[in-house]
Protein backbone atom coordinates (compact mmCIF):
# COMPACT_ATOMS: atom_id res chain seq x y z
CA UNK A 1 0.00 0.00 0.00
CA UNK A 2 1.34 3.38 -0.85
CA UNK A 3 0.99 5.96 1.81
CA UNK A 4 0.59 9.20 -0.03
CA UNK A 5 1.76 11.68 2.47
CA UNK A 6 0.91 15.29 2.33
CA UNK A 7 4.09 17.24 1.98
CA UNK A 8 4.02 18.39 5.55
CA UNK A 9 3.60 15.01 7.19
CA UNK A 10 6.47 13.31 8.91
CA UNK A 11 7.72 9.76 8.73
CA UNK A 12 6.25 8.58 11.97
CA UNK A 13 3.40 6.47 10.68
CA UNK A 14 5.16 3.44 9.31
CA UNK A 15 3.41 0.14 9.81
CA UNK A 16 4.41 -3.24 8.45
CA UNK A 17 2.44 -4.17 5.38
CA UNK A 18 1.67 -7.70 4.21
CA UNK A 19 4.29 -8.92 1.77
CA UNK A 20 2.01 -8.84 -1.25
CA UNK A 21 1.18 -5.22 -0.67
CA UNK A 22 4.80 -4.34 -0.27
CA UNK A 23 5.67 -5.86 -3.62
CA UNK A 24 2.91 -3.84 -5.14
CA UNK A 25 4.41 -0.82 -3.48
CA UNK A 26 7.86 -1.31 -4.94
CA UNK A 27 6.46 -1.81 -8.40
CA UNK A 28 4.68 1.47 -8.07
CA UNK A 29 7.82 3.08 -6.71
CA UNK A 30 9.64 2.06 -9.87
CA UNK A 31 6.91 3.51 -12.06
CA UNK A 32 7.12 6.66 -10.01
CA UNK A 33 10.87 6.72 -10.63
CA UNK A 34 10.40 6.54 -14.34
CA UNK A 35 7.53 8.94 -14.71
CA UNK A 36 7.76 12.03 -12.59
CA UNK A 37 10.09 14.94 -13.36
CA UNK A 38 9.98 16.16 -9.75
CA UNK A 39 9.88 13.58 -6.97
CA UNK A 40 9.89 13.65 -3.20
CA UNK A 41 10.61 10.77 -0.83
CA UNK A 42 10.77 10.31 2.91
CA UNK A 43 12.24 7.26 4.58
CA UNK A 44 10.60 5.47 7.46
CA UNK A 45 13.80 3.53 8.22
CA UNK A 46 16.45 4.58 10.75
CA UNK A 47 19.02 2.18 9.27
CA UNK A 48 21.92 4.25 7.82
CA UNK A 49 22.95 1.44 5.44
CA UNK A 50 19.44 1.18 4.05
CA UNK A 51 18.89 4.92 3.76
CA UNK A 52 22.19 5.40 1.94
CA UNK A 53 21.30 2.46 -0.33
CA UNK A 54 17.88 3.88 -1.19
CA UNK A 55 19.64 7.15 -1.95
CA UNK A 56 22.18 5.38 -4.16
CA UNK A 57 19.40 3.49 -5.94
CA UNK A 58 17.67 6.77 -6.71
CA UNK A 59 20.96 8.20 -8.00
CA UNK A 60 21.49 5.25 -10.33
CA UNK A 61 17.98 4.43 -11.46
CA UNK A 62 15.88 7.58 -11.53
CA UNK A 63 15.05 9.24 -14.82
CA UNK A 64 18.06 11.31 -15.95
CA UNK A 65 16.08 14.53 -16.22
CA UNK A 66 14.26 14.19 -12.91
CA UNK A 67 14.99 16.17 -9.76
CA UNK A 68 14.54 14.35 -6.48
CA UNK A 69 14.31 15.20 -2.79
CA UNK A 70 14.92 12.47 -0.20
CA UNK A 71 14.75 13.01 3.56
CA UNK A 72 15.81 10.49 6.19
CA UNK A 73 16.88 10.15 9.81
CA UNK A 74 19.49 7.64 10.99
CA UNK A 75 20.01 5.94 14.35
CA UNK A 76 23.36 6.86 16.00
CA UNK A 77 26.06 6.26 13.43
CA UNK A 78 29.34 7.65 12.16
CA UNK A 79 29.42 8.24 8.42
CA UNK A 80 32.87 8.60 6.86
CA UNK A 81 33.52 9.97 3.36
CA UNK A 82 34.28 7.76 0.34
CA UNK A 83 38.04 8.31 0.53
CA UNK A 84 38.64 8.52 4.25
CA UNK A 85 40.58 6.49 6.80
CA UNK A 86 38.48 5.02 9.66
CA UNK A 87 41.55 4.44 11.82
CA UNK A 88 42.45 8.14 11.82
CA UNK A 89 38.92 9.59 11.75
CA UNK A 90 37.18 7.47 14.36
CA UNK A 91 37.82 6.14 17.86
CA UNK A 92 37.31 2.51 16.88
CA UNK A 93 37.97 1.20 20.40
CA UNK A 94 35.07 3.26 21.71
CA UNK A 95 32.76 1.91 19.00
CA UNK A 96 33.87 -1.64 19.60
CA UNK A 97 33.49 -1.53 23.36
CA UNK A 98 29.73 -0.99 23.18
CA UNK A 99 29.32 -3.66 20.56
CA UNK A 100 31.16 -6.28 22.56
CA UNK A 101 29.50 -5.30 25.82
CA UNK A 102 32.85 -4.55 27.36
CA UNK A 103 32.87 -2.46 30.50
CA UNK A 104 31.73 1.07 29.70
CA UNK A 105 34.45 3.45 28.68
CA UNK A 106 35.01 6.87 30.11
CA UNK A 107 33.16 9.01 29.14
CA UNK A 108 30.17 6.73 28.86
CA UNK A 109 29.25 5.76 25.31
CA UNK A 110 25.98 5.85 23.42
CA UNK A 111 25.57 2.11 23.07
CA UNK A 112 25.83 0.65 19.60
CA UNK A 113 26.98 3.17 16.99
CA UNK A 114 27.26 2.08 13.36
CA UNK A 115 30.27 2.92 11.22
CA UNK A 116 29.46 3.51 7.56
CA UNK A 117 31.60 4.47 4.56
CA UNK A 118 29.33 6.42 2.24
CA UNK A 119 29.75 6.75 -1.53
CA UNK A 120 30.05 10.54 -1.69
CA UNK A 121 33.16 12.59 -1.00
CA UNK A 122 33.88 14.85 1.95
CA UNK A 123 34.48 14.33 5.65
CA UNK A 124 33.16 12.43 8.64
CA UNK A 125 29.82 13.23 10.24
CA UNK A 126 27.88 11.90 13.23
CA UNK A 127 24.21 11.04 12.76
CA UNK A 128 21.51 10.50 15.35
CA UNK A 129 17.78 11.10 15.71
CA UNK A 130 18.42 14.80 16.29
CA UNK A 131 19.65 15.18 12.68
CA UNK A 132 17.66 15.16 9.47
CA UNK A 133 19.53 14.14 6.32
CA UNK A 134 18.52 15.86 3.10
CA UNK A 135 19.46 14.76 -0.40
CA UNK A 136 18.82 16.37 -3.76
CA UNK A 137 19.58 14.47 -6.98
CA UNK A 138 19.45 16.47 -10.21
CA UNK A 139 20.82 16.47 -13.76
CA UNK A 140 24.45 17.63 -13.87
CA UNK A 141 23.63 20.45 -16.27
CA UNK A 142 21.55 22.23 -13.64
CA UNK A 143 23.81 21.38 -10.71
CA UNK A 144 25.86 23.84 -8.69
CA UNK A 145 27.56 23.13 -5.38
CA UNK A 146 25.57 25.83 -3.60
CA UNK A 147 22.03 25.79 -4.98
CA UNK A 148 20.54 23.15 -2.69
CA UNK A 149 22.41 24.33 0.39
CA UNK A 150 20.74 27.67 -0.40
CA UNK A 151 17.38 25.90 -0.68
CA UNK A 152 17.80 24.35 2.78
CA UNK A 153 18.94 27.69 4.16
CA UNK A 154 15.77 29.33 2.83
CA UNK A 155 13.82 26.57 4.59
CA UNK A 156 15.64 27.23 7.85
CA UNK A 157 15.09 30.97 7.62
CA UNK A 158 11.39 30.36 7.02
CA UNK A 159 11.39 28.57 10.39
CA UNK A 160 12.81 31.67 12.04
CA UNK A 161 16.49 30.68 11.91
CA UNK A 162 17.67 34.08 10.72
CA UNK A 163 21.34 33.38 11.41
CA UNK A 164 21.55 30.57 8.82
CA UNK A 165 23.73 31.08 5.75
CA UNK A 166 25.81 29.12 3.23
CA UNK A 167 29.55 29.59 3.69
CA UNK A 168 32.43 29.34 1.22
CA UNK A 169 32.84 25.60 1.96
CA UNK A 170 29.20 25.06 0.86
CA UNK A 171 28.25 24.29 4.48
CA UNK A 172 25.28 25.79 6.31
CA UNK A 173 26.37 27.75 9.39
CA UNK A 174 24.76 30.00 11.98
CA UNK A 175 26.36 33.43 12.28
CA UNK A 176 27.24 34.31 15.87
CA UNK A 177 27.57 38.09 15.58
CA UNK A 178 25.88 40.43 18.04
CA UNK A 179 25.08 43.49 15.99
CA UNK A 180 22.32 43.58 13.44
CA UNK A 181 23.14 45.00 10.03
CA UNK A 182 20.82 45.73 7.15
CA UNK A 183 21.45 43.13 4.47
CA UNK A 184 19.71 41.68 1.46
CA UNK A 185 17.43 39.05 3.00
CA UNK A 186 17.31 37.14 -0.27
CA UNK A 187 21.08 36.56 -0.17
CA UNK A 188 21.72 33.17 1.40
CA UNK A 189 25.42 33.95 1.91
CA UNK A 190 25.09 36.79 4.41
CA UNK A 191 22.91 37.39 7.45
CA UNK A 192 22.31 40.52 9.55
CA UNK A 193 24.90 39.04 11.93
CA UNK A 194 27.68 38.42 9.40
CA UNK A 195 29.62 41.63 9.81
CA UNK A 196 29.66 41.93 13.56
CA UNK A 197 32.31 44.09 15.15
CA UNK A 198 33.11 41.22 17.51
CA UNK A 199 32.46 38.18 15.40
CA UNK A 200 32.54 34.72 16.95
CA UNK A 201 33.15 31.85 14.60
CA UNK A 202 29.89 30.71 12.98
CA UNK A 203 28.57 27.34 14.16
CA UNK A 204 28.23 24.64 11.52
CA UNK A 205 24.80 23.04 11.33
CA UNK A 206 24.90 21.15 8.02
CA UNK A 207 27.79 19.98 5.86
CA UNK A 208 27.74 19.20 2.16
CA UNK A 209 28.98 16.21 0.20
CA UNK A 210 28.54 15.26 -3.45
CA UNK A 211 28.55 12.25 -5.71
CA UNK A 212 28.78 12.95 -9.42
CA UNK A 213 28.13 10.22 -11.97
CA UNK A 214 27.85 10.19 -15.72
CA UNK A 215 24.22 11.25 -15.72
CA UNK A 216 23.42 12.57 -12.28
CA UNK A 217 24.61 14.91 -9.54
CA UNK A 218 23.84 14.14 -5.89
CA UNK A 219 24.17 16.66 -3.07
CA UNK A 220 23.47 15.69 0.51
CA UNK A 221 23.85 17.14 3.96
CA UNK A 222 23.04 16.39 7.59
CA UNK A 223 21.13 19.13 9.36
CA UNK A 224 21.84 19.25 13.09
CA UNK A 225 18.55 20.16 14.77
CA UNK A 226 18.49 18.82 18.31
CA UNK A 227 21.13 16.18 18.97
CA UNK A 228 21.40 15.23 22.65
CA UNK A 229 24.91 13.88 22.00
CA UNK A 230 26.97 16.96 21.16
CA UNK A 231 29.11 16.53 24.28
CA UNK A 232 30.11 12.93 23.52
CA UNK A 233 30.43 13.12 19.72
CA UNK A 234 33.96 14.61 19.88
CA UNK A 235 35.15 11.50 21.74
CA UNK A 236 33.90 9.30 18.93
CA UNK A 237 35.55 11.46 16.28
CA UNK A 238 38.88 11.68 18.04
CA UNK A 239 41.19 8.83 17.12
CA UNK A 240 44.08 7.98 19.44
CA UNK A 241 45.87 6.60 16.35
CA UNK A 242 45.75 9.83 14.38
CA UNK A 243 49.17 11.20 15.45
CA UNK A 244 50.81 8.02 14.15
CA UNK A 245 49.06 7.81 10.78
CA UNK A 246 50.11 9.42 7.50
CA UNK A 247 47.34 8.93 5.00
CA UNK A 248 46.45 9.63 1.40
CA UNK A 249 42.86 10.52 0.74
CA UNK A 250 40.69 12.99 2.55
CA UNK A 251 41.07 14.28 6.08
CA UNK A 252 38.09 15.80 7.88
CA UNK A 253 38.11 19.49 8.71
CA UNK A 254 36.62 19.83 12.16
CA UNK A 255 34.31 22.76 12.84
CA UNK A 256 32.47 24.01 15.90
CA UNK A 257 28.89 22.79 15.66
CA UNK A 258 25.60 23.74 17.28
CA UNK A 259 22.02 22.56 17.51
CA UNK A 260 19.52 24.68 15.63
CA UNK A 261 16.84 23.73 18.18
CA UNK A 262 14.11 22.94 15.71
CA UNK A 263 11.74 19.95 15.66
CA UNK A 264 12.51 17.38 12.96
CA UNK A 265 8.95 17.57 11.62
CA UNK A 266 9.08 21.33 11.25
CA UNK A 267 12.37 21.14 9.35
CA UNK A 268 11.09 18.32 7.11
CA UNK A 269 7.96 20.26 6.21
CA UNK A 270 9.97 23.42 5.50
CA UNK A 271 12.47 21.66 3.24
CA UNK A 272 9.68 19.92 1.32
CA UNK A 273 7.94 23.27 0.91
CA UNK A 274 11.06 25.05 -0.34
CA UNK A 275 11.89 22.18 -2.70
CA UNK A 276 8.38 22.67 -4.14
CA UNK A 277 8.85 26.43 -4.36
CA UNK A 278 12.05 25.82 -6.32
CA UNK A 279 10.77 23.20 -8.73
CA UNK A 280 6.97 23.30 -8.94
CA UNK A 281 6.30 26.98 -8.23
CA UNK A 282 5.07 25.99 -4.80
CA UNK A 283 2.55 23.38 -5.85
CA UNK A 284 2.81 20.75 -3.12
CA UNK A 285 4.58 17.53 -4.08
CA UNK A 286 3.33 14.35 -2.49
CA UNK A 287 6.15 12.60 -0.64
CA UNK A 288 6.41 8.86 -1.17
CA UNK A 289 7.34 6.84 1.91
CA UNK A 290 10.23 4.46 1.41
CA UNK A 291 11.73 1.96 3.84
CA UNK A 292 12.50 -1.68 4.58
CA UNK A 293 10.51 -2.97 1.59
CA UNK A 294 13.27 -1.64 -0.70
CA UNK A 295 15.48 -4.49 0.46
CA UNK A 296 13.32 -6.71 -1.75
CA UNK A 297 14.73 -4.93 -4.75
CA UNK A 298 17.86 -6.74 -5.94
CA UNK A 299 19.81 -3.62 -6.94
CA UNK A 300 19.11 -1.82 -3.68
CA UNK A 301 19.85 -4.98 -1.72
CA UNK A 302 23.21 -5.41 -3.45
CA UNK A 303 24.23 -1.86 -2.57
CA UNK A 304 23.04 -2.42 0.99
CA UNK A 305 25.07 -5.61 1.44
CA UNK A 306 28.15 -3.88 0.04
CA UNK A 307 27.83 -0.91 2.40
CA UNK A 308 27.44 -3.27 5.37
CA UNK A 309 30.48 -5.37 4.51
CA UNK A 310 33.64 -4.89 6.55
CA UNK A 311 35.62 -5.06 3.30
CA UNK A 312 33.87 -1.92 2.05
CA UNK A 313 34.34 -0.10 5.36
CA UNK A 314 37.99 -0.95 5.88
CA UNK A 315 39.63 -2.22 2.67
CA UNK A 316 38.51 0.83 0.65
CA UNK A 317 40.81 3.00 2.76
CA UNK A 318 43.38 4.92 0.70
CA UNK A 319 46.96 3.82 1.36
CA UNK A 320 48.50 4.92 4.64
CA UNK A 321 51.45 4.32 6.92
CA UNK A 322 51.52 3.84 10.67
CA UNK A 323 54.69 4.95 12.43
CA UNK A 324 55.62 4.98 16.09
CA UNK A 325 58.31 7.63 15.56
CA UNK A 326 56.50 10.04 17.90
CA UNK A 327 56.06 7.38 20.60
CA UNK A 328 58.70 8.45 23.11
CA UNK A 329 59.19 5.24 25.15
CA UNK A 330 59.79 3.05 22.09
CA UNK A 331 63.28 1.71 21.45
CA UNK A 332 62.57 0.56 17.91
CA UNK A 333 61.10 2.66 15.07
CA UNK A 334 58.42 0.81 13.16
CA UNK A 335 56.74 1.86 9.90
CA UNK A 336 53.88 -0.22 8.49
CA UNK A 337 52.35 0.42 5.08
CA UNK A 338 48.68 -0.43 4.76
CA UNK A 339 47.42 -0.73 1.19
CA UNK A 340 43.80 -1.65 0.46
CA UNK A 341 43.37 -2.25 4.19
CA UNK A 342 46.10 -4.91 4.22
CA UNK A 343 49.41 -4.66 6.06
CA UNK A 344 51.56 -4.97 2.96
CA UNK A 345 55.07 -3.93 4.01
CA UNK A 346 57.07 -2.44 6.83
CA UNK A 347 60.44 -1.24 7.99
CA UNK A 348 62.09 -1.39 11.35
CA UNK A 349 65.08 0.47 12.79
CA UNK A 350 66.59 0.41 16.24
CA UNK A 351 66.75 3.94 17.57
CA UNK A 352 70.23 5.34 17.21
CA UNK A 353 71.23 2.71 14.66
CA UNK A 354 71.55 3.61 10.99
CA UNK A 355 70.49 0.21 9.67
CA UNK A 356 66.89 -0.23 8.49
CA UNK A 357 65.34 -3.66 8.25
CA UNK A 358 62.69 -4.31 5.59
CA UNK A 359 59.88 -6.72 6.34
CA UNK A 360 59.99 -10.18 4.77
CA UNK A 361 58.08 -10.65 1.56
CA UNK A 362 54.86 -12.63 1.21
CA UNK A 363 53.95 -12.98 4.82
CA UNK A 364 50.31 -13.59 5.57
CA UNK A 365 49.28 -10.04 4.43
CA UNK A 366 46.58 -9.74 7.06
CA UNK A 367 43.66 -7.33 6.90
CA UNK A 368 44.47 -4.66 9.46
CA UNK A 369 40.99 -4.60 10.98
CA UNK A 370 41.11 -8.36 11.61
CA UNK A 371 44.41 -8.47 13.49
CA UNK A 372 43.62 -9.64 17.02
CA UNK A 373 47.17 -10.23 18.13
CA UNK A 374 50.36 -8.71 16.81
CA UNK A 375 53.31 -10.77 18.16
CA UNK A 376 53.24 -13.61 15.63
CA UNK A 377 52.75 -11.27 12.68
CA UNK A 378 55.61 -9.05 13.81
CA UNK A 379 57.77 -12.13 14.25
CA UNK A 380 57.05 -13.22 10.69
CA UNK A 381 57.71 -9.78 9.23
CA UNK A 382 60.84 -9.11 11.26
CA UNK A 383 62.54 -12.28 12.53
CA UNK A 384 65.42 -10.08 13.76
CA UNK A 385 63.34 -8.44 16.47
CA UNK A 386 63.96 -9.59 20.06
CA UNK A 387 61.10 -10.92 22.13
CA UNK A 388 61.14 -7.92 24.41
CA UNK A 389 61.08 -5.45 21.50
CA UNK A 390 58.38 -7.46 19.77
CA UNK A 391 56.14 -7.53 22.81
CA UNK A 392 56.51 -3.81 23.37
CA UNK A 393 55.65 -3.06 19.73
CA UNK A 394 52.73 -5.50 19.83
CA UNK A 395 51.29 -3.83 22.91
CA UNK A 396 51.62 -0.41 21.28
CA UNK A 397 49.99 -1.58 18.05
CA UNK A 398 47.11 -3.22 19.89
CA UNK A 399 46.40 0.01 21.69
CA UNK A 400 46.69 2.24 18.64
CA UNK A 401 45.07 -0.10 16.09
CA UNK A 402 42.58 -2.24 18.00
CA UNK A 403 40.88 -5.08 16.10
CA UNK A 404 37.64 -3.70 14.68
CA UNK A 405 34.63 -5.66 13.80
CA UNK A 406 32.69 -2.50 13.76
CA UNK A 407 30.53 -1.87 10.82
CA UNK A 408 27.06 -3.15 11.04
CA UNK A 409 24.89 -3.84 14.00
CA UNK A 410 22.27 -6.54 13.91
CA UNK A 411 19.43 -4.12 14.56
Amino acid sequence: MITWNRACRGAQHFTLQPATNRRWLSQNSLEWLAARPIQSYISTSRDPYLNLSIEHYLLQKSAPDSTILLLYINRPSIIIGRNQNPWSEVNLALLDSARNARPETEPSGLGVVDLVRRRSGGGTVFHDEGNVNWTVICPPRTFTRDKHAEMVTRALRSCGVARAKVNERHDIVLDQGQTVADVDRANMHVTPYTHSSHPSRPLKVSGSAYKLTRQRALHHGTCLLSSPNLNVIPHYLHSPAKPYITARGVESVSSPVGNILLENEEFIAAVQKHFALMYTAGESIEALEVGDEWLENDTARKGYDELKSLDWTYLQTPQFTVSNASDIPATVDLDLTVRNGIVSAGTLARRGASETIDSRESVARPKLHEIESWPSGLQAMFPEVTNAERDRLAAWLKEVLPPSHVASSTV
Partner: protein, 181 residues
Protein backbone atom coordinates in the same frame (compact mmCIF):
# COMPACT_ATOMS: atom_id res chain seq x y z
CA UNK B 1 34.77 12.99 -16.89
CA UNK B 2 31.43 12.29 -17.27
CA UNK B 3 31.17 12.50 -13.76
CA UNK B 4 31.42 15.95 -12.73
CA UNK B 5 30.73 17.40 -15.87
CA UNK B 6 28.85 15.05 -17.95
CA UNK B 7 26.87 16.97 -20.43
CA UNK B 8 27.33 19.66 -17.97
CA UNK B 9 25.95 22.97 -18.70
CA UNK B 10 27.08 26.43 -18.19
CA UNK B 11 25.97 26.59 -14.63
CA UNK B 12 28.05 23.69 -13.47
CA UNK B 13 31.07 24.66 -15.44
CA UNK B 14 30.96 28.23 -14.24
CA UNK B 15 30.37 27.48 -10.63
CA UNK B 16 32.86 24.68 -10.45
CA UNK B 17 35.47 26.73 -12.18
CA UNK B 18 35.41 29.51 -9.67
CA UNK B 19 37.75 27.99 -7.11
CA UNK B 20 40.20 26.83 -9.73
CA UNK B 21 40.44 30.07 -11.61
CA UNK B 22 42.67 31.94 -9.23
CA UNK B 23 45.43 29.37 -9.35
CA UNK B 24 47.28 30.29 -12.46
CA UNK B 25 46.29 33.92 -12.66
CA UNK B 26 48.69 36.79 -12.51
CA UNK B 27 48.51 40.31 -13.76
CA UNK B 28 49.42 41.15 -17.33
CA UNK B 29 52.30 43.22 -16.02
CA UNK B 30 53.63 40.35 -13.93
CA UNK B 31 53.26 38.01 -16.89
CA UNK B 32 55.33 40.30 -19.07
CA UNK B 33 57.94 40.56 -16.33
CA UNK B 34 58.12 36.81 -16.03
CA UNK B 35 58.30 36.39 -19.77
CA UNK B 36 61.11 38.93 -20.02
CA UNK B 37 63.11 36.99 -17.46
CA UNK B 38 63.08 33.80 -19.47
CA UNK B 39 66.34 32.84 -21.18
CA UNK B 40 66.36 33.78 -24.83
CA UNK B 41 66.47 30.17 -25.95
CA UNK B 42 63.47 29.03 -24.01
CA UNK B 43 60.93 30.11 -26.56
CA UNK B 44 62.62 28.01 -29.17
CA UNK B 45 63.04 24.99 -26.87
CA UNK B 46 59.48 25.21 -25.78
CA UNK B 47 58.18 25.42 -29.29
CA UNK B 48 60.18 22.41 -30.27
CA UNK B 49 59.06 20.39 -27.28
CA UNK B 50 55.45 21.24 -27.88
CA UNK B 51 55.53 20.24 -31.50
CA UNK B 52 56.94 16.80 -30.77
CA UNK B 53 55.04 16.05 -27.59
CA UNK B 54 51.53 17.06 -28.49
CA UNK B 55 49.56 13.85 -28.66
CA UNK B 56 46.91 13.11 -31.22
CA UNK B 57 43.81 12.88 -29.12
CA UNK B 58 40.10 12.30 -29.31
CA UNK B 59 37.55 13.39 -26.75
CA UNK B 60 34.23 12.22 -25.32
CA UNK B 61 31.23 14.33 -24.38
CA UNK B 62 32.02 13.31 -20.82
CA UNK B 63 35.34 15.17 -21.10
CA UNK B 64 37.75 12.26 -21.22
CA UNK B 65 40.52 12.09 -23.82
CA UNK B 66 42.32 9.18 -25.44
CA UNK B 67 45.54 9.25 -27.40
CA UNK B 68 45.00 7.74 -30.84
CA UNK B 69 48.46 7.22 -32.37
CA UNK B 70 48.90 3.70 -30.99
CA UNK B 71 45.66 1.85 -30.16
CA UNK B 72 47.75 -1.02 -28.79
CA UNK B 73 48.87 1.25 -25.95
CA UNK B 74 46.85 4.45 -25.65
CA UNK B 75 46.85 6.91 -22.75
CA UNK B 76 43.53 8.02 -21.25
CA UNK B 77 42.87 11.07 -19.12
CA UNK B 78 40.47 13.90 -18.40
CA UNK B 79 40.42 17.13 -20.38
CA UNK B 80 41.70 20.51 -19.25
CA UNK B 81 38.09 21.70 -19.26
CA UNK B 82 37.09 18.88 -16.89
CA UNK B 83 40.08 19.40 -14.60
CA UNK B 84 39.17 23.08 -14.23
CA UNK B 85 35.55 22.27 -13.52
CA UNK B 86 36.45 19.73 -10.83
CA UNK B 87 38.61 22.09 -8.81
CA UNK B 88 41.50 20.90 -6.67
CA UNK B 89 41.81 17.14 -6.91
CA UNK B 90 42.80 15.64 -3.55
CA UNK B 91 42.56 11.92 -4.27
CA UNK B 92 42.62 9.70 -7.34
CA UNK B 93 41.45 6.10 -7.41
CA UNK B 94 43.16 4.24 -10.26
CA UNK B 95 41.98 1.12 -12.10
CA UNK B 96 43.69 -2.25 -11.65
CA UNK B 97 46.20 -3.25 -14.32
CA UNK B 98 44.95 -6.21 -16.33
CA UNK B 99 41.27 -5.35 -15.96
CA UNK B 100 39.17 -5.63 -19.10
CA UNK B 101 36.71 -2.78 -19.45
CA UNK B 102 33.92 -1.76 -21.82
CA UNK B 103 33.31 1.67 -23.26
CA UNK B 104 31.67 3.89 -20.63
CA UNK B 105 32.70 1.78 -17.62
CA UNK B 106 34.00 3.64 -14.59
CA UNK B 107 37.76 3.07 -14.56
CA UNK B 108 38.57 5.32 -11.67
CA UNK B 109 37.36 8.14 -9.53
CA UNK B 110 38.61 11.44 -8.23
CA UNK B 111 37.70 13.49 -5.21
CA UNK B 112 37.69 17.27 -5.30
CA UNK B 113 35.83 19.83 -3.21
CA UNK B 114 33.83 17.19 -1.26
CA UNK B 115 32.77 15.52 -4.52
CA UNK B 116 33.41 11.93 -5.51
CA UNK B 117 33.33 11.74 -9.33
CA UNK B 118 33.59 8.69 -11.55
CA UNK B 119 35.90 8.62 -14.57
CA UNK B 120 34.64 6.65 -17.56
CA UNK B 121 36.73 4.98 -20.24
CA UNK B 122 36.18 6.37 -23.76
CA UNK B 123 36.67 2.90 -25.30
CA UNK B 124 36.75 -0.76 -24.28
CA UNK B 125 39.96 -2.71 -23.83
CA UNK B 126 42.52 -3.92 -21.35
CA UNK B 127 44.19 -1.66 -18.78
CA UNK B 128 47.95 -1.98 -19.39
CA UNK B 129 49.37 0.58 -17.00
CA UNK B 130 48.23 3.19 -14.49
CA UNK B 131 49.80 6.52 -13.58
CA UNK B 132 50.99 5.85 -10.04
CA UNK B 133 52.24 9.41 -9.75
CA UNK B 134 48.60 10.46 -9.24
CA UNK B 135 48.44 8.48 -5.99
CA UNK B 136 51.25 10.55 -4.53
CA UNK B 137 50.43 13.80 -6.31
CA UNK B 138 46.74 13.96 -7.22
CA UNK B 139 47.14 17.68 -8.03
CA UNK B 140 49.02 16.65 -11.19
CA UNK B 141 45.56 16.26 -12.74
CA UNK B 142 45.00 19.98 -12.28
CA UNK B 143 48.50 21.02 -13.33
CA UNK B 144 48.80 18.85 -16.44
CA UNK B 145 45.52 17.11 -17.22
CA UNK B 146 46.38 16.22 -20.81
CA UNK B 147 50.03 15.18 -20.34
CA UNK B 148 51.56 14.31 -16.95
CA UNK B 149 48.10 13.79 -15.46
CA UNK B 150 47.14 10.84 -17.70
CA UNK B 151 45.24 8.23 -15.77
CA UNK B 152 45.85 4.88 -17.45
CA UNK B 153 47.07 3.23 -20.66
CA UNK B 154 44.73 0.89 -22.47
CA UNK B 155 44.94 -1.67 -25.29
CA UNK B 156 41.97 -0.65 -27.42
CA UNK B 157 39.78 -3.68 -28.15
CA UNK B 158 37.93 -2.23 -31.14
CA UNK B 159 39.46 0.73 -32.99
CA UNK B 160 36.03 1.50 -34.46
CA UNK B 161 35.08 2.88 -31.07
CA UNK B 162 37.63 5.63 -31.59
CA UNK B 163 35.83 6.80 -34.72
CA UNK B 164 32.79 7.96 -32.80
CA UNK B 165 34.81 10.37 -30.66
CA UNK B 166 35.39 14.06 -31.25
CA UNK B 167 38.64 15.49 -32.62
CA UNK B 168 40.33 18.41 -30.89
CA UNK B 169 38.48 21.02 -32.96
CA UNK B 170 35.14 19.29 -32.49
CA UNK B 171 35.69 19.03 -28.75
CA UNK B 172 36.65 22.68 -28.54
CA UNK B 173 33.39 23.75 -30.16
CA UNK B 174 31.51 21.26 -27.98
CA UNK B 175 32.84 22.81 -24.76
CA UNK B 176 32.14 26.30 -26.07
CA UNK B 177 28.57 25.25 -26.83
CA UNK B 178 28.18 23.66 -23.41
CA UNK B 179 29.54 26.82 -21.87
CA UNK B 180 26.99 28.99 -23.67
CA UNK B 181 23.89 26.95 -22.90
Amino acid sequence: MSAAIAGSGAALAKVLQRPAQGLARCSRQRYLQLRAQRPATSAHVRGFAASTRVLQKKYTEDHEWIETSNPENAAIGISTYAAKALGDVVYVELPTVGTTVSKGDAIGAVESVKSASDIMTPVGGEILEVNNLLEEKPGTINQSPEEGGWLARIRVADVKELEGLMGEEGYKSFTEEVGEK
